[in-house]
């Protein structure tokens, strides 16, 4: 995304309300391991606006020069073949780049998602030259899929495969190729337009249910800000530049310390108990809860996970995974969660 386009986005720090959505997105930026966010909500609730505006506050990450997958040298496990070779030979230069929001348009075709091989280059030089698609761009970035529930099935399958393996496999023109594709998957959908396949649902670490801000004062404020922004986007953006910068720095700082945030055994036990009590299958929810709590602690500048960190984030992870019984809709109860946590952690 170019700089001009970044400026034209409505400023993230001026979006009114929707705190849960904002928090979920920030936690995923701080630790991509949380596993992505699904934003479910009515039309016109600033889902797309918020996600697109994230570009303003995304932190800088190291990246290997000349690599089209912008491999991160700090993550040796997730390098592309080329970078692995070069790292082995010790011949890499790196630079810092801003993470970005890569979008997957609804009508994208699958060759542009997984990319394709430059045959001419292969034949002439015998080297594989791969023309990266959306998944290549998304590596190390955020991948935003608007109206994810309306994507064609064969596109969803492609997306799921790479999200699951962290790698994208390309088979075209008789030649196979693969490259790392690790990204924070952000999906948005309006449940009125149809549901999401359960496999895809489970892929998202978090799910936020977004509602329209109802209070008239808030609504008036939303309209006022939007009109002010339209009238003079640059001035509006400049006026909150300090706030934007401060938030970006806060995120970068949190990202730097998130892996050092301590999680006590007591906390792990508490999270395990929550998982059991809420009938979570597998370990995806447990891990997401720990990571989200750590990211939350890091964001608040703490080096230890406390009650608040889990209590305020767990609902985002548990709610969409709860099994509906044959006779009742699953319902998430915050006080049930809190009482389990208190039992292990005190408050």
């Amino acid at each position: 995304m170019s700089d001009t386009e970044k400026r034209l986005q409505f400023p993230f720090v001026r979006i009114v309300g929707q705190e849960e959505m904002k928090r979920a997105l920030l936690l995923n930026i701080i630790d991509p391991g949380v596993g992505g966010v699904l934003l479910r909500g009515e039309k016109g609730t600033a889902k797309s606006t918020t996600v697109r505006s994230l570009a303003q506050i995304l932190p800088q990450v190291p990246s290997i020069d000349g690599c089209q997958f912008h491999c991160n040298p700090d993550l040796p496990r997730y390098l592309c073949d080329d970078c692995k070779k070069r790292m082995g030979a010790g011949k890499v230069e790196t630079h810092m780049r801003s993470m970005k929001v890569v979008e997957l348009p609804l009508n994208a075709t699958e060759d542009r998602i997984s990319g394709s091989l430059d045959i001419e280059h292969v034949l002439r030089t015998g080297e594989r030259k791969y023309e990266g698609g959306v998944l290549a761009q998304a590596n190390g970035n955020l991948l935003y899929v608007d109206e994810v529930n309306l994507l064609d099935d064969h596109i969803v399958d492609l997306l799921l495969d790479s999200a699951a393996m962290g790698r994208n496999f390309v088979e075209r023109e008789g030649i196979s190729f693969s490259h790392p594709a690790r990204f924070v998957l952000i999906g948005s959908m309006n449940p009125e337009e149809g549901t999401l396949r359960p496999q895809l649902m489970d892929r998202f670490g978090m799910c936020v249910d977004i509602k329209t801000e109802l209070s008239p004062d808030v609504r008036v404020e939303v309209i006022k800000r939007r009109l002010a922004f339209d009238a003079d986007p640059e001035k509006f953006t400049d006026e909150c530049q300090d706030e934007t910068d401060a938030l970006r720095e806060k995120i970068a700082a949190a990202k730097a310390i998130v892996h050092d945030v301590k999680v006590s055994d007591k906390t792990l036990t508490a999270i395990a108990m929550v998982s059991i009590q809420f009938g979570m299958e597998g370990h995806r929810a447990d891990l997401a809860m720990i990571r989200a709590a750590k990211a939350n602690a890091a964001f608040e500048g703490r080096d230890e996970v406390i009650f608040q960190d889990i209590s305020s984030t767990a609902s985002l992870i548990l709610r969409h995974r709860m099994k509906s019984g044959p006779f009742e809709e699953a319902q998430f109860r915050q006080n049930e969660l809190d009482s389990i946590l208190r039992g292990y952690l005190g408050s």
Partner: protein
């Protein structure tokens, strides 16, 4: 028509206004209006999006000729690339959903993003979309409607004089008098200049927000559009301050297509609660607005009458002598028309649109409309030739070098694409009639008959089926199994047997089982269940349970993938019928009373 022209003008004034939706029956002059406007405004014709447009043509794609001849990948922008133009989408409700969503999203973002056939391109988009829709054929989803800032309902013009004028103007299409209208252009330019200087006062914003709230407008777009349209309207009038009338116009064109509630309780208007523009102004304002909304409804009623409905105009004209049944047919028709008109109110959160959406399904067979392509499965016969060539195009030069052939297009198996098709589903109208209790039996049975005949007149399309199920203590079952023969329906209804007790829960389970089986056998069909009851259950399946609570419990579990319910409360009384209400919540079914249709009738007659 005045509102439509005014809305079009507003669209030209504020570049942040992106879309105008014009609803109306076929032949109401929707497209003619837009064409003549676009000529009057700029002398240019509006670009028209044809019904069978593909995503490639609309959003742009690889330049096929260049790719095949030179092997170069050159992007060719689609219709949306035109700077500042008006793009006219006729019958947007018939376009594939993803196409219209992507279209509207591109316009709102101001750029088109294309990721297809080896090209990754983003280009600016500054067109305004003017779309027409005729909800009688295929309702437009509320999410897409919401992306249109404004929506105007155009009635079929009943005035003879006007018709003649329209004909004249169509016939004199090429005459100079329909060329560029300098005055209009100048007015729009002036308005665009002063637009930025107009500030929207807080009291106007307050009115807008409260109105959104009152009509259950979801999301923020409704309020925002109204604010922008008010401002554009003031600018067009040459004012620097927003007047009450501007807001009233803006509400009229921005809110009706977004509302999720109809305010039937207009008598209890809390007029003292709100004080904007001074008291008396506000009263007038509320009054105006209500009148307008009703006018809207009325217009569409007019539309319904004008359409060649099966009941025909003769009944309508022969007031007074009509058979009470026929009158009810008309009343019911009005109710369901109102439901159609307010299609958003029919749906609640989480289930909205689903019924309508499902009228289109992906179809694996060879019939259905070609909407897009996907990689070919083994041995497909339904090859998408255009897409296949596009996929192969960029590789032609290289392949020619490799193979040494220089003629023809060289296609490899990996290029093959097959068509993805969608087809219309057919619908089962399942009437579930409570024929117990004798109190209001006669009236109720007439209503049932009326409802069925009216639904058939309005909604029945070739291939749809109708079924009638009745329940009382003696008999729970199909009075009329699903049939496509409409003729037999009327006869059967005359013979509905009656009983005393109401085994609601057992009837619900029966319906669930029956409809479930029906849908399993027909994987592309949908069912629309109209439950007509007063919910006075007094027979339980389990003797230890309260019959009504048991019915509620069962109702809350009755969910089928392709089934939607509507509850029509048949209890004739002025007291609110809490039981029927609760049942409708449990079923997640919209709730209607028989009284509703009487009162709406009164409103319409005025």
């Amino acid at each position: 028509m005045d509102d439509a022209i005014r809305a079009l003008t507003c669209l030209m004034v504020d570049p942040e206004l992106h879309g105008l939706l014009i609803k109306g029956p076929a032949g109401s002059g929707k497209s003619a209006l837009i064409h003549s406007f676009s000529r009057a405004y700029s002398g240019r014709r509006a670009k028209v999006v044809p019904q069978n447009i593909t995503d490639e043509q609309l959003f742009g794609s690889i330049d096929l000729e260049q790719a095949l001849t030179t092997g170069k990948m050159v992007f060719e922008p689609g219709l949306l690339g035109e700077e500042g133009g008006i793009v006219l989408v006729d019958d947007i409700n018939l376009l594939p959903r993803n196409t219209s969503l992507t279209l509207m999203d591109s316009v709102h973002r101001g750029s088109v993003h294309v990721e297809r056939e080896g090209m990754s391109v983003a280009y600016p988009c500054s067109v305004s979309i003017v779309a027409t829709a005729n909800d009688r054929e295929q309702p437009l989803g509320s999410a897409i409607a919401d992306l249109f800032d404004m929506c105007v309902v155009v009635p079929r013009d009943p005035d003879q004089q006007k018709r003649i004028e329209v004909m004249r103007s169509v016939l004199s299409d090429d005459c100079e008098e329909f060329g560029r209208d300098e005055e209009l252009v100048a007015r729009i330019e002036r308005a665009s200049e002063i637009l930025g200087d107009i500030k929207i006062q807080d009291d106007a914003l307050q009115v807008i927000v409260e109105t959104c709230d009152k009509y259950g407008v979801q999301g923020m777009r409704g309020g925002l559009s109204t604010a922008r349209v008010s401002r554009a309207s003031a600018a067009l009038n040459g004012h620097t301050k927003i007047e009450e009338e501007d807001v009233s116009f803006a509400l009229r064109v921005c809110i009706p297509h977004r509302r999720t509630r109809v305010r039937r309780d207009t008598k209890e208007e809390p007029e003292d609660k709100v004080q904007f523009f001074g008291d008396s102004h506000m009263k007038r304002f509320i009054h105006d607005e209500r009148k307008e909304l009703l006018k809207d409804a009325e217009e569409s009623e007019g539309e319904a009458q004008a359409a060649p409905a099966a009941t025909g105009p003769s009944i309508f004209e022969s007031k007074g002598t009509e058979d009470p049944d026929e009158k009810l047919v008309m009343d019911m028709e009005k109710l369901f028309d109102t439901i159609d008109l307010l299609d958003d109110s029919r749906k609640k959160k989480g289930q909205a649109d689903s019924h309508l959406m499902r009228r289109f399904i992906k179809d694996a067979g060879k019939d259905g409309r070609y909407v897009s392509s996907c990689p070919a499965q083994n041995s497909t016969v339904d090859l998408a030739v255009d897409a296949t060539v596009r996929y192969a195009a960029p590789y032609q030069n290289q392949r020619r070098e490799i193979t040494g052939r220089d003629k023809g297009v060289i296609i490899l198996p990996s290029d093959l694409r097959q068509k993805v098709r969608e087809k219309h589903t057919s619908c089962l109208f399942f009437f579930m009639v409570d024929n117990s209790g004798s109190l209001v039996l006669r009236a109720r049975m007439r209503a049932v008959k009326a409802a069925i005949m009216s639904m058939l007149a309005d909604h029945y399309v070739r291939k749809d089926s109708v079924a009638v199920m009745t329940f009382n203590e003696e008999f729970i079952g199909m009075l009329l199994p699903p049939t496509r023969s409409v003729g037999g329906v009327k006869k059967v209804i005359d013979e509905i047997p009656t009983g005393k007790k109401t085994p609601l829960s057992e009837a619900l389970s029966y319906m669930h089982q029956y409809v479930g089986q029906y849908l399993r056998k027909r994987p592309s069909d949908v069912a629309f269940v109209v439950l007509m009851t007063d919910a006075g259950a007094n027979m339980a399946m389990n003797d230890e349970k309260d019959p009504f609570e048991e019915a509620i419990e069962i109702a809350s579990h009755l969910r089928l993938e392709r089934m939607e319910c509507v509850l029509v409360d048949t209890k004739v009384s002025n007291e609110p019928n809490e039981k029927a209400r609760r049942l409708s919540y449990a079923l997640e079914a919209p709730y209607y009373k028989i009284e509703d249709l009487r009162s709406s009738d009164n409103i319409i007659r005025k």
